[in-house]
């Protein structure tokens, strides 16, 4: 399949970015370097091109359109201006995708989904949405930029003349940005105070240049986005979760509302009764050596699982990772050995997040001093 291009491709090339395929798109992986971009995001503010992600608009009442049954969050109770994280599941309780749902109007919803799963998600929505609902794939029409970092609130105010202090975590507003209406949500994937902007693709170039003209903001690539999310214990679809794993095994029960009906509910209830056989855990290496995707996990020389994500942690200066293990090895403090053919890493099961200084939920009105 031919790679898709972000509308900002020539900007990334000019900045000397290293480009690579991700989710079917040619995307910037790094500019200056993953570690420096990571650390800049943790202490100042970075902009990420996230145009690869998919967006769907659904018009309809959550019950009458059947949308409420397709996702695990409770749409009926969701106020307009709120967003919510959850899943689309199959009948077996396997995760078709993880997504963020935005209630734009009582009968207008935006679903933000992963790039690689956009087509499958569209099929799933078409299959289950009732006739009176209207579905629009806005993935090409909408671009997405993330501004993330402890001083992102001040940057938003400077750049868009919008007082963002009042915008609470997982809420959004429509704002005017260079004459265009855009959605600005207080969300992100880095663990830092941050905002995600949904911008018409034809105007995104101007917005990108406008943002980068601010001296506090530096571009960051998907490489840093991955290490930032891993330090927070956030999962990556296709790696840590898939159609072969359930939210229960991934430890994400709180994003599933069992008080309503949804596709996959019976399978999850059955799994809950019978107890899951494996659980996703986070582990810390005892050295700078990083576990990698598909390393085997051992406990007392017994194979107990597989690593799904692993990397060097720029904030902690050691290896970190996550993976599924048998239930008796999922307790905090359990000693594990992570192996491939030649490598052996000693690690310990720890609580998430790995990095606990994240500012994502902080009240920005308290005042964050920009880093000089």
């Amino acid at each position: 399949m031919a790679l898709k291009y972000t509308p900002l491709l020539s900007c990334h090339e000019k900045l000397g970015a290293r480009l690579s395929a991700f989710g079917g798109w040619l995307m910037p992986i790094q500019y200056e370097g993953i570690i420096s971009e990571h650390l800049w995001t943790r202490r100042s503010v970075s902009v990420f091109d996230i145009c690869h992600m998919g967006e769907f608009l659904v018009y309809g009442d959550p019950e009458k359109s059947n949308l409420d049954r397709i996702v695990t969050m409770n749409l009926g109770d969701m106020p307009c201006g709120k967003c919510s994280y959850g899943f689309m599941l199959n009948e077996e309780g396997g995760i078709i995708d993880d997504l963020v749902m935005y209630r734009i109007a009582p009968e207008k919803w935006m679903l933000v989904v992963n790039a690689a799963t956009t087509d499958i998600d569209e099929q799933n929505l078409k299959k289950h949405l009732f006739k009176d609902a209207r579905l629009e794939n806005a993935s090409s029409a909408l671009g997405k930029l993330d501004l993330q970092g402890p001083v992102s609130c001040e940057a938003i105010q400077r750049l868009f003349d919008f007082q963002a202090q009042g915008l609470r975590y997982y809420h959004f507003e429509e704002v005017i940005c260079l004459g265009e209406k855009v959605i600005l949500s207080r969300t992100g994937y880095t663990g830092e105070l941050g905002y995600e902007l949904y911008i018409p693709s034809e105007t995104i170039l101007g917005v990108w240049n406008h943002i980068l003209a601010d001296s506090a903001v530096k571009p960051a690539g998907l490489g840093a986005r991955d290490t930032l999310r891993l330090e927070m214990g956030y999962l990556l679809y296709g790696q840590d979760i898939s159609k072969d794993t359930t939210p229960l095994e991934a430890g994400l029960d709180k994003f599933v509302d069992f008080n309503k009906d949804f596709i996959g509910k019976d399978a999850l209830l059955k799994m809950r009764r019978e107890k899951t056989k494996r659980l996703l855990v986070c582990f810390l290496s005892d050295s700078r050596r990083a576990p990698r995707h598909n390393y085997k996990i051992y406990s007392d020389s017994r194979e107990v699982g597989t690593v799904t994500s692993g990397s060097f942690s720029p904030s902690l200066s050691c290896g970190i990772g996550m993976g599924y293990v048998e239930l008796d090895c999922a307790t905090i403090g359990t000693k594990l050995v992570l192996k491939d053919n030649t490598v052996e890493i000693n690690a310990t099961v720890v609580e998430k997040p790995f990095y606990s200084e994240g500012t994502a939920r902080q009240n920005p009105a308290v005042g964050n001093v920009p880093v000089t």
Partner: protein, 129 residues
Amino acid sequence: MSIPGNLLYTKDHEWVKIEGATAIIGISDHAQHALGDITFVELPKIGDRVVQGKHCATVESVKAASDVYAPFSGKVIKINTELLQHPELANQSPYSQGWFIAIEIDNIKEKDSLMLESEYVHYLTQLPS
């Protein structure tokens, strides 16, 4: 891209500096740039034997782990302990402070399979970008 003229190079982007019967080994500027931020280095122990073309060290970057292959067969006589503490030296100073190991060369004729600077420059231009 820096490629010093007094060194020999391998197709796997190691460099070698021959000083009498000793070969000092590291990874090229091209290699460190391709790897990105180097976060971990594993070296053999002094006294270990290494074989030309076979694994002798490991470098890890944020994204991946890669093998380093020995340009000569021989016995390891020195290792860069500073590099173990500060793997980023391989990025910052690949031909000097970022050296990996020194080995006592078994057979100097093995250098015939290595590339001169000019050959390595040409080799790099042939690689897919």
